[in-house]
Symmetry: D2
Subunit: 303 residues, 4 copies
Amino acid sequence: MKLAIIGLGKMGGNMARRLLKNGIEVVGFDFNQDAVNQISQTNGMIPASSVADAVSKLSGEPKKIVWIMLPSGEITENQIKDLVPLLDKGDIIIDGGNSNYKHSQRRGAWLAEQGIDFIDCGTSGGVWGLENGYCLMYGGTKEAADTIEPIAKALTHEDRGWAHVGPIGSGHFTKMIHNGIEYGMMQAFAEGLDLLKGKEEFNLDLAQITELWRHGSVVRSWLLDLTAEALAHDQELSSIAPYVADSGEGRWTVVEAVDQGVAAPVLTVALQARFRSQDSKGYSYKLLSLMRNAFGGHAVKTK
Amino acid sequence: MKLAIIGLGKMGGNMARRLLKNGIEVVGFDFNQDAVNQISQTNGMIPASSVADAVSKLSGEPKKIVWIMLPSGEITENQIKDLVPLLDKGDIIIDGGNSNYKHSQRRGAWLAEQGIDFIDCGTSGGVWGLENGYCLMYGGTKEAADTIEPIAKALTHEDRGWAHVGPIGSGHFTKMIHNGIEYGMMQAFAEGLDLLKGKEEFNLDLAQITELWRHGSVVRSWLLDLTAEALAHDQELSSIAPYVADSGEGRWTVVEAVDQGVAAPVLTVALQARFRSQDSKGYSYKLLSLMRNAFGGHAVKTK
Amino acid sequence: MKLAIIGLGKMGGNMARRLLKNGIEVVGFDFNQDAVNQISQTNGMIPASSVADAVSKLSGEPKKIVWIMLPSGEITENQIKDLVPLLDKGDIIIDGGNSNYKHSQRRGAWLAEQGIDFIDCGTSGGVWGLENGYCLMYGGTKEAADTIEPIAKALTHEDRGWAHVGPIGSGHFTKMIHNGIEYGMMQAFAEGLDLLKGKEEFNLDLAQITELWRHGSVVRSWLLDLTAEALAHDQELSSIAPYVADSGEGRWTVVEAVDQGVAAPVLTVALQARFRSQDSKGYSYKLLSLMRNAFGGHAVKTK
Amino acid sequence: MKLAIIGLGKMGGNMARRLLKNGIEVVGFDFNQDAVNQISQTNGMIPASSVADAVSKLSGEPKKIVWIMLPSGEITENQIKDLVPLLDKGDIIIDGGNSNYKHSQRRGAWLAEQGIDFIDCGTSGGVWGLENGYCLMYGGTKEAADTIEPIAKALTHEDRGWAHVGPIGSGHFTKMIHNGIEYGMMQAFAEGLDLLKGKEEFNLDLAQITELWRHGSVVRSWLLDLTAEALAHDQELSSIAPYVADSGEGRWTVVEAVDQGVAAPVLTVALQARFRSQDSKGYSYKLLSLMRNAFGGHAVKTK
């Protein structure tokens, strides 16, 4: 089995390594040639000097399979367009990044018109995937899904943690919801630990408590494992800024809930907590302070 | 009609003025003697040099009526206790402050044992009450409520805006819910205006829009009137700190919802938005940032 | 001044009446000819038998002005397209309905290419607009805005309650946010009144309390006026189903908050409360019940 | 090591079995004598016919240790009071139930006056604790905590999953927050799965997806393990009522957040989602429907 991977960053690079370790041939390309060289030399990846070169090094395969692992949006869009002239009917493009599922549906339909098969693959596991195996959920035709099965098996743990979940779009949809849930779980832990920390009279040791909960409690989870380990090093977090980034999938989940007309308050307020952390102006708070002053004569705190 | 008012601050002082203007005799006391002197000289209030003096100046009234207008909590609690020995059976204490209704129920029961009637009166209207009339919602026995009716009429606008809503406790309960609603309305406006401001491409004039909405729109309201007027002076709010205080009633409303087992998400998140504005540490955000780093290798923003 | 109105439903019909009453000539068309006849006979509207007929009856005007008051989405989209061949360069189409502002931006740009001016006008006031005047917030070029000013004045109360808020799109944007705030205010009242009702020991009279709050309280507002009036007739609401519809603007406001990355928790949970009311299946609740059973052996309530 | 357990229900009974299996002597009492007999005969527990009998069967121990595992509230309160006359100075009462931590603080202070040591032990693990080991977080004096350590070790998995977290009250406090987080996590999963289910065009298999996520994904957790297993049997859930019970700790967590002035939106809306599921009247929805009708003439759905 042989495939090309376009994009060898934090995710793509480790995926190439895991595939190579598990007997899959990988042709790799990235604009960062250092990444290409490093994985080639250490892990035996076939290096490519361009996308066209990568595709050409798949010639002779029954179907050429190109896995793109790039930032979602325009970069992924353009890469897919650029690939088409290099491929033959029946070849397969897999988008393993965090694309919006509606874009994947549109791309899949367009690629089908060109005779190219498309797989949208949600990929979870973060930086731990190399060691623990990734979690893969993908959409596409049955034929394409069957074709890439050996790749899925090589990327996951003991042949579990992968599935062909439905038609094109359903892979990224499932991953989007996964990330929405992730936001909710993270926020639940953050709020709970904040309340533990805030109970000053008990002077609780958050490293002790998170470690304790890992064994036998209802909230035991991988996120808790990582949190306990991090808090064991430092629980004051004095050097960390109170700022949390968010990425597309948390946002799209909330929009999906609006589209479906389904209440998803936890997923929503979890996202909005991140928005709050990013808001350095606090205009809404200023307005509230202004109103309190206007009706009640309450003092306004000034800067 | 004659009563004593204990506490002549922002609320109590203006209430005394309004009562005097409307033909009610007022004996007034405050630890701040300047407040006492000022209202006596300007508005004809009967000054008192102590609580005992104030009560003594009600002698001869069929029932002595003492209206206390003090910060809720211990100060109100102690004042009620101190009043009892000065009063006779059948006299009336009115707590016009923002006491927790459960405390009012307890105090009312205890006062009943001493033969003193108790009225818990929720008082809305802020600094505008002097001019516009207050809004009064009170709990107590029918007899006590009937007795204080002339006072209620003098404090309110054209004899409307007051009611005996139920037994002891129900006045402060109704006021608590009123304030809970107020939090929700304020937050609704703050969020909406924040989104108007955030739409930079339209460069909207928030003073124009809030003024416009006052006429014929569904959101027209007194809060909007005040907001429009304030924004007409300044809509950048650059000198105001993004900090919003909260007082007991917003909090108690949320606890009441928990006690009743009733979902009140708007009232709750409106309160919690204020908590956010008060949180200078952002520990929960730091935890989220830590977790993102732990599972995904995402960079942590440092201070 | 003369204009055509396409769409004479609950909103458009009353707007025609108000314009006619205030000296504006109105040509009216609706597929429901009864509506056309009724307004023509009673209020002196010039009846039209088709859109083309309506436009033709504007001939001779310096600029033909067509106000469409139709359901948003495809119906409005198609009407705008159909109007273009009937109009001349410099004529004006006003969309007074609840269109998504992004659609208005797109339509405005396309109409500009055809030489037609476009005004997107958010219209608030509901069924009370005929009597009280509407609230109008509109976007467009200065020239078009100036042209329609006499119409705006005739539709609003004492020449207030209208404004040209910015470029094309800004009118519907402002109306969208207005409705978002409206959702939040309504939900705040609904939650507060639910808690009053839930406090059975006080046996509160919600008609009395809402009436009371109208005078001097901080929450006084037009929504409260209407609520008090409705509750005066019936506060048990036993014949009303616990189901609340929602329309596009509440949803778009939440999506806008996501797009801006701005926390708008009150506007969001207010919308989601309606989603809950529409959800007859309760699948998420079933899942929770299932989980509680799975980890804790808690009994599952069965149907 | 020997202790008495009062209360042999779903939790207490299994805890007795696990202790016995791990070499701790247990005297057991329950008003349900069948439970007593069953565990005595099958697992070698020393049966007691009354609380007094249970305590008497601890005579000769250096310190008598009584673990009560009863419903929180009055039943636990009364049991603690009834135990005191049966114990000697230096003996230990452990409350392993879900008591409010403030009650535990009060009880601990009162017991200290009687010379009795008190341990408040939060106990997680549900019906799986017998097999997997429980998770124990307890508060108390260092001396008492040291004394019960062998019991903690016998109840937990491989000597992990237990800790003395702080003074009296801190055990139940930590468990309360644990349960708050649990509510948030459960709701996050419920919302996400609801959205997967709602995406009808993809016809997703929730059993497949939850099973898949167990391997390598960021949301892997024990709750997910149990959910996947349950959905493997049935994912339509047609026989389950959309009703979710809640218990004290979720509620107390929200009240704690209010007391601390800390925003905990996820924990709060997770609790309120359960309240919604319990609300068969929907009065707030009816009010919203009424208001929409009042201002906009929108039709009200009737029953």
